[in-house]
């Protein structure tokens, strides 16, 4: 992921093992329902956005021990909750990625 035109470095995006495992189940379910390519494209778009513009989501709550913010963002049919640590330009995803209601998943 390269930096933006004005020199801003991308955010580092880190996922937990739990998120990886739940994503595997979600993709398998999507494949079974004929929505595999849609979900895979959404996962990649979500990851891209988290690297360059994690602020696209709405704030959920402020995190206290290290100044950061938990946000929720949707890239249909996905919903992700993630934390941004602006000082470190770090985004972490430790809560499994879900799907929007009525998404068929």
């Amino acid at each position: 992921m390269s930096e933006m035109s004005n020199g801003s470095p991308p955010y580092q995006v880190a996922y937990s093992e739990l998120v990886r495992n739940e994503l595997e189940k979600l993709i398998a379910r999507a494949e079974e329902r004929g929505l595999g390519s849609q979900v895979r494209a959404a996962v990649r778009k979500l990851d891209h956005l988290l690297h360059i513009y994690p602020q696209f989501g709405e704030p959920l709550l402020d995190l206290s021990f290290v100044p950061g913010q938990l946000r929720i963002g949707t890239v249909p049919p996905l919903v992700a909750r993630y934390a941004i640590y602006e000082e470190q330009r770090l985004v972490i995803v430790t809560i499994p990625i879900s799907t929007l209601p009525h998404s068929g998943l």
Binding site: N6, S8, V13, Y15, S16, E31, G36, T94, I95
Partner: protein, 143 residues
């Protein structure tokens, strides 16, 4: 607003752009916002990329200022509008409904969040590119 303005915008941090253009923060935000109403072309056009990069950097700058001042983030209307433009730039027109926000807060599990945080602190965490190809191979497409 000509090529010079866009050139400065695309090659500078917001602070550098303000200094080079001699503009206050809110005035530059307003000028960039005005630019969003006139740019045409593809999403990948240099003009749009410059506005997007500026908006993302402004948000980051405002967040850090608020954190350092131990104040809640309270962006000016111009910046809020730029953020809305940036969402549309990426086709993110579907907003978060109050029901979804409520669900997200109700089902937020602090223990799961902290366990993941500790794991990432200890291991560095996983990157999507580390496991997405593997997932796609494991789950053979049936479409």
């Amino acid at each position: 607003m000509g090529h010079d303005f866009l050139g400065i915008l695309s090659r500078s941090t917001p602070a550098q752009a303000r200094e080079r253009l001699g503009l206050a923060t809110r005035d530059l935000d307003a000028q960039v916002l005005q630019l969003t109403t006139t740019v045409n072309g593809d999403n990948d056009s240099p003009e749009r990329e410059a506005i997007f990069a500026y908006t993302a950097a402004r948000w980051s700058e405002s967040t850090l200022e608020a954190q350092h001042a131990a104040q809640p983030l309270d962006p000016m209307p111009e910046l809020e509008e730029l953020l809305g433009w940036a969402r549309r730039y990426y086709g993110l027109t579907q907003g978060i409904t109050p029901e979804l926000l409520d669900w997200a807060r109700r089902t937020f599990n602090e223990e799961v969040f902290l366990a993941g945080l500790r794991e990432i602190e200890a291991t560095g965490g996983l990157e999507l590119k580390d496991f997405m190809d593997e997932l796609e191979q494991e789950v053979a497409p049936r479409e």
